[in-house]
């Protein structure tokens, strides 16, 4: 059932997707983290994808 990774009392390792300030604050606290500078997919592409997943 579960492939959930252990979180409590385990070293925190964080992927931050979006606002960079959260990544910077994690670094200040000595937390291992990586930053993803997310760019939304172009609108048209997303609409097509949503339509496709509706059809399939």
């Amino acid at each position: 059932m579960s492939n959930a990774r252990k979180l409590f009392d385990e070293e925190l390792k964080v992927i931050n997707v979006g606002l960079k300030i959260f990544y910077e604050d994690l670094k200040r606290q000595g937390v291992r983290a990586v930053q993803v500078n997310y760019q939304p997919p172009p609108k048209l592409e997303k609409e097509l994808k949503d339509k496709l997943s509706e059809l399939l």
Partner: protein, 544 residues
């Protein structure tokens, strides 16, 4: 001469930038020689309203749409204006980042940190599901900060995660504390025996900081998002969080903080807690709740109506001796509070009768509204409780007003007021001009994520507000509540000192601050037995 001013604006069509970056650019432009004021922002209605208040709603700015970016500047002369506009363009075209641990997609981030166990997601709401699902599929827990996530996406993500024992904290979760680390907007709270589950971001900040300041600590604080306690979600993540806290050996008691859950959801959460937990529970719901405690919870559950009481009761359960030591400081007796405020409210003119509370924290707003309601004070708000009046125009106060500046009408296309103080500085000046205002109440939320110096960023506006009142022969009472702990990046004592140096009254909890505001506006006329009962009664939780 001397007072002359030139203004100019530029609009970039369909250019998106994040509100934090734009705030930083605005600040940088204001520092340039000859620049009087500057705003660089997306063309949302909120931002145009601010431009108007700055006297910078120029015709081209007025025409800008939500997806257009505008630059508007006031300068002393043409040359400075031209230079500032050029500088703005240059800053906007600079690359956003360049660090070595930065990636453009989740796959490459995962390759760089293959054993990641948590993700913070703050992408625009409509994209949150796709991003979050990708992470959940890898077994990674997610703190989902994004707002405006469609309800059906939230339910889908939470059901998927629950079945796999994965936490989805949010959407709209501002705060978590995991393994003693602050996630998003959170304070440097020490570790300890109290586990907190919160469907209210600033609620978690207030309760965890108070517990720390009362010299205890928090095992973990999980923010599940406000939607979780509504019937469309049915408490899915609150339940999983309860299981996590029950199994966690460092958690001795479990404290919940939330606005009142919807009835059906409340019942199902209580039923779940009865079957799946054995630890002591403190239920802190801001507002009126009808609660039928199931048999299995009786005798191990306390109920509190304010954040203040929730923190105190949690401390009392863990350590009666610490509770006895801190009780006096955190439940200032009515007479003592009144004596402290009297010299200030005696200076008020008889026409000054209203409270204006300008909040950045949503749950602090609710707590104060709850207290004014208990005291029978009529208030207007942009986020009123049941039975209270809604402001027609959130930008304009009427009578007693409690305004949550973190609500959408103030944040569309802007950074939250905990980060960007512009909106509140302007509002403070407006309130000071109103001859009927007696007290202004403001929160200063410290911690990771927040402005590096919230008190400092308001000092000029506080001085100006006082000057406006003084010119008109009025004394203005300003009460500031500092939410935070000494270890926060801003330092609690330093923030408190800055405010006090300007004559601001700083009290130990938001609840006491709200009471003090009421007491001042009513010139101590809360002094009767019924009110005493309310004062004493709501501070204590009822141990059932």
């Amino acid at each position: 001469m001397g007072n002359e001013k030139v203004t100019g604006a530029l609009v970039e069509r369909n250019l998106m930038r994040d509100s934090l970056q734009l705030m930083k650019i605005s600040e940088e432009l204001k520092k340039l020689d000859g620049v009087i004021d500057a705003i660089v922002a997306m063309g949302t209605e909120t931002n145009k309203e601010i431009a108007k208040q700055l006297g910078l709603l120029l015709p081209e700015v007025e025409k800008a749409g939500d997806s257009d970016l505008f630059i508007a500047i006031a300068a002393k002369e043409e040359q400075s204006l031209k230079k500032a506009l050029e500088k703005a363009k240059e800053l906007l075209s600079a690359p956003i980042s360049g660090g070595e641990m930065e990636y453009v997609d989740i796959e490459s981030a995962l390759a760089a940190l293959p054993d990641a166990n948590l993700a913070i997601v703050s992408v625009p709401g409509e994209y949150a599901r796709d991003v979050t699902m990708k992470l959940l599929e890898k077994g990674i827990h997610v703190h989902l900060f994004s707002d405006h996530v469609p309800e059906e996406h939230e339910v889908e993500l939470k059901k998927y995660a629950f079945d796999r024992g994965l936490l989805v904290l949010g959407p709209g979760a501002g705060t978590s504390i995991i393994n003693g680390k602050a996630i998003a907007f959170a304070n440097a709270v020490r570790r300890g025996p109290i586990g907190i589950i919160a469907a209210a971001g600033t609620g978690l900040q207030e309760v965890s900081s108070l517990i720390h300041n009362m010299s205890l600590g928090v095992s973990h604080g999980l923010g599940v998002g406000g939607g979780d306690v509504k019937n469309y979600v049915g408490g899915i993540m609150t339940k999983l969080a309860l299981s996590y806290m029950e199994k966690d050996p460092s958690t001795k008691i479990i404290t919940m903080v939330s606005k009142p859950p919807q009835q059906e959801t409340l019942n199902s959460i209580l039923e779940y807690a009865e079957k799946n937990t054995t630890k002591r529970l403190v239920l802190g719901f801001m507002g009126k709740v009808e609660m039928n405690l199931p048999k299995g919870l009786k005798g191990r559950t306390s109920v509190a109506r304010t954040l203040h009481a929730t923190a105190l009761e949690s401390v009392r359960l863990v350590s009666p001796s610490i509770y006895e030591k801190v009780k006096d400081k955190y439940t200032i007796p009515f007479d003592k509070l009144n004596a402290m405020l009297k010299p200030k409210y005696e200076k008020l003119k008889s026409s000054q009768k209203y409270i204006r509370a300008l909040y950045t924290g949503g749950t602090l707003t609710s707590e104060s509204l709850m207290i004014f309601d208990l005291l029978g004070i009529e208030v207007y708000s942009n986020a009123p409780l049941k039975g209270q009046k809604k402001l027609d125009d959130p930008f304009k106060s009427v009578g007693n007003t409690v305004v949550d500046l973190g609500e959408e009408e103030f944040t569309a296309g802007r950074a939250h007021p905990m980060i960007d103080p512009t909106i509140r500085r302007l509002r403070l000046i407006e309130e000071a001009k109103d001859p009927e205002v007696a007290v202004i109440l403001m929160d200063f939320v410290l911690g990771y994520g927040s402005h590096p110096d919230p008190a400092g960023a308001h000092l000029d506006a506080i001085r100006e507000a006082k000057k406006i009142a003084e010119k008109d022969g009025r004394h203005l009472i300003i009460i500031g509540y500092v939410l935070g702990v000494e270890g926060d990046p801003q330092g609690f004592n330093e923030q408190k000192r800055k405010l006090e140096a300007e004559g601001v009254t700083v009290l130990p909890t938001n609840a006491i601050s709200a009471l003090a505001a009421a007491l001042s506006a009513l010139r101590g006329k809360l002094n009767d037995n019924r009110v005493r009962e309310i004062y004493e009664g709501y501070l204590k939780a009822s141990a059932e």
